[in-house]
Point group: C2
DNA sequence: ACCTGAACACCGTTCAAGT
DNA sequence: ACCTGAACACCGTTCAAGT
């Protein structure tokens, strides 16, 4: 019934994965779908509508990753890992998610997995919506920082790394030189962050 | 010496604040600076370079907000609040920060405030860089979610809010209807999140 | 109902030309 | 050194016209 719209969406997703979000133009999508740009408009209201549908697709891919039989800790971990992995596979998605409401039919399925997980952990219901936002914001923020380049190498020169910036001292950097030299293991850092989230949830549950 | 570049930057910032990031075109910036678009290029290498300088300006505005005399908890709170306030004043900045390395001369000053704060809290040096990223990612992610619309109203219909989506049940939503009806106090939620960060830092320090 | 071609009002950037 | 005007290769979207 809506197969034409699906084909357009597939074309847009393929372009975004292959060449990045900025390559997703109505003209490029249309060409890939074998049609002119203006032929898209009966099926998608606007480019914004198309982008919304793209993030929707991404979110539905996440739903199968919290098998109900498991411990809440295991479900949190597998959801977090799946979210991060998805961001690595579709870097355009992480950035886009910040500019779209999370209270959307496509997102509700994922949000519900977090809700049930937090309830199972024993978090008081009144605290669950806030903690869901805290947890999902940190996971999304971490993934967005990785794929967006915020956690990237940067361009500090050796002097700056050692704690001197434009004549001003950087005492924190200076004290940490030894620990700032080693390359970061991002997999391990993500797991440590999820461990901290687990402890934070346990603390919220135990009161 | 570089006053021409500063004028261009001022024009770009004014346009972004008034009409949003998408209104910042080389032509619009040039017109505001009283010059043609091509006259910008001797002063800014590209549009990307211009955007980088814009986030740089934002970050330097943050530095004065952690007075060294105070308790680390107070400094964390005032830095967090200042960061969130800045995102509200310049919504374009939050989104942009995810796509720029945080290890940049302009950012180093802010990062250093977090480093010293965490060291003062007694966090083991080996843990400081990770916790700095965790803390700044949550603060930035929260602010980006607010100004980007991720925390916005969304478009769930009443049936969906009560726990039924496309024939599938949403058990978490169903259990939480009572707590999902009330409007969210975002100021209070942000403070609660910062409280959780404080506890997390205390836990990292005490071991 | 669905698609096309031309057009409108834009983009970032290059390049030859001016002062 | 700094600026201009024209041009190139693009954008999203509207609109009249075709089938």
């Amino acid at each position: 019934m809506e197969s034409r719209r699906q084909e357009i969406l597939d074309a847009a997703l393929a372009i975004a994965d292959e060449k990045g979000l900025e390559a997703v133009s109505m003209r490029a999508v249309a060409e890939r779908a074998g049609v002119t740009a203006m032929a898209l408009y009966p099926h998608v209201a606007s480019k914004a509508d198309l982008l919304d549908s793209m993030v929707g697709r991404l979110l539905t891919e996440l739903v199968p990753h919290a098998e109900p039989g498991q411990d809440w800790r295991q479900r949190l971990r597998s959801l977090a890992r799946a979210g991060r992995k998805l961001a690595h596979q579709h870097p355009w998605g992480a950035t886009l998610l910040f500019s779209r409401p999370s209270v959307t039919p496509d997102a509700a399925g994922v949000v519900d997995l977090f809700y049930t997980l937090l309830l199972d952990a024993g978090v008081p219901p009144a605290q669950v919506p806030r903690l869901e936002r805290l947890v999902s914001t940190l996971i999304l923020g971490f993934a967005a920082s990785e794929v967006g380049g915020r956690f990237g190498p940067g361009d500090l020169d050796p002097r700056e790394r050692r704690g001197m910036l434009r004549g001003q001292p950087l005492p924190g950097h200076k004290a940490l030189v030894r620990w700032l030299e080693a390359p970061v293991n991002w997999d391990a850092e993500f797991e440590a962050d999820v461990d901290d989230l687990v402890r934070l949830i346990e603390a919220a549950a135990g009161r």
